[in-house]
């Protein structure tokens, strides 16, 4: 018996998309659009860019579905497409791309967390500190915490080695810990 559409796996839906089924691509859009949109918005800092890119990602899904072999999760595949497109858009706009080497020179945007600390709100402070991380560290944090991706999947989405994922995670968490401590919160590490 064929599963009801709502019960079909992402992989099954991609199979239907590959055969030209538009209802299947719409279902995948409804399942994944918000996360793709947020991922791009966090990378680019632009919701209008995220809007354009997220739609492009699902058009790519429509075009590339016949070639999808299911070696990774559909959500990982979509985030990888989103990452590639976001980078392309940023390059086209000639915006500066922040890499880890540049990140050290990024002005500390600790004001926002400090304001939150004044309100004695650790959660808000932490949220501001996460937002203030260098983009490439924040992407790793987002992909692990919000998108529930493994080390290997993050490596795939970002097209970086597994070891680099761990390195970025180490520095991101270390920086968060230091920021919390400097804001007066108890923290056992680093």
């Amino acid at each position: 018996m064929t599963a009801a559409p709502s019960q079909q796996s992402d992989l099954e839906l991609v199979g239907r998309v590959a055969k030209g089924d538009r209802a299947a691509v719409r279902l995948l859009f409804m399942r994944h659009h918000a996360r793709v949109y947020r991922f791009v918005a966090r990378q680019t800092g632009s919701e209008s860019m995220a809007d354009d890119i997220a739609n492009e990602v699902f058009l790519e899904l429509w075009k590339q579905a016949p070639g999808f072999e299911g070696r990774s999760q559909v959500s990982t595949w979509l985030l990888g497409i989103a990452r590639f497109k976001a980078l392309s858009h940023l390059r086209k706009r000639k915006e500066d791309w922040i890499d880890d080497a540049d990140a050290a020179a990024v002005p500390d945007t600790a004001d926002t967390p400090e304001v939150a600390v004044m309100k004695d709100n650790k959660a808000s402070a932490l949220r501001g500190m996460v937002n203030a991380l260098p983009e490439e560290q924040r992407s790793v944090i987002d992909l692990a915490y919000y998108h529930a991706k493994s080390v290997t999947e993050i490596a795939e989405v970002l097209s970086i080695p597994v070891a680099t994922v761990k390195t970025r995670m180490f520095y991101a968490r270390k920086k968060l810990g230091e920021a919390l401590q400097s804001a007066g919160f108890e923290r056992g590490w680093p």
Binding site: Y37, L59, D100, N131, D142, W189
Partner: protein, 222 residues
């Protein structure tokens, strides 16, 4: 900050690096065993886990604060149409085509033609059971499939409560529908043609009934 791996990582550093993946459930193998052992044996580990959980909440909140536009799907549909060409409307069902044709001709002629059209529909349904989108299942072995019935459409302002109450009081019930055109198949608990005609007449006289087309009559009606 460089991409190079940090040197001289302590065991604590390594565990702190893995904690997010422990929390999101993707850690496995030796890494999972190492974190579980650390959590079980190091008194500082539970506090570290708490800190990671706080980060988890903060990151989730930061992401959820971003609201995608509500019209994203409709705009994507337009892009998809532009990319793949406009989607064809599904072919109308046989009943919808009969019904549309029925409504398009003068009523005196249409009512006369209706019996033949519905007979055609019945034959088609028996020959092609289980067509997608058709709720009718005239062929069957249960009592409902054998009982006399009538085709009915109800006025747009009819309420289900009124219809259900009337049908229940008069030995009738909805067997199937609606199909395209809003047509319902209503079963009639009548053992004679006279009873059947009386109940069908009552249905037709109700303010919620729009059109009533006789279907199968009791066996003594031939």
């Amino acid at each position: 900050m460089s991409e190079s791996e940090p040197t001289n990582l302590s065991h604590r550093d390594e565990m702190e690096t893995l904690l997010p993946f422990y929390l999101n459930g993707t850690l496995e193998g030796a890494d999972l065993a190492a974190v579980e052992e650390w959590l079980a044996t190091d008194p500082t580990a539970s506090a570290a886990l708490g800190e990671a959980e706080a980060e988890f909440s903060g990151v989730s909140a930061a992401n959820e604060a971003i609201r995608p536009p509500t019209d994203a799907l409709s705009r994507f549909n337009k892009m998809l149409d532009a990319e793949a060409g406009r989607e064809r409307a599904p072919a109308p069902s046989m009943l919808a085509r009969i019904w549309d044709g029925f409504l398009a001709v003068p009523s005196t002629v249409a009512w006369g033609a209706a019996a033949a059209a519905i007979a055609l529909l019945m034959v088609q349904t028996v020959l092609e059971p289980g067509r997608p989108g058709e709720n009718f299942e005239i062929a069957g072995t249960d009592e409902a499939a054998k009982m006399p019935f009538v085709f009915v459409t109800f006025k747009p302002d009819a309420t289900i409560a009124d219809i259900a109450a009337f049908l229940g009081d008069n030995g009738a019930s909805i067997l199937a529908g609606p199909v395209a055109g809003g047509v319902f198949k209503v079963g009639i608990e009548a053992s004679t043609v006279d009873d059947y005609d009386r109940i069908v007449g009552l249905i037709a006289a109700q303010p919620f009934s729009e059109t009533v087309v006789p279907g199968r009559k009791p066996a003594d009606g031939g």
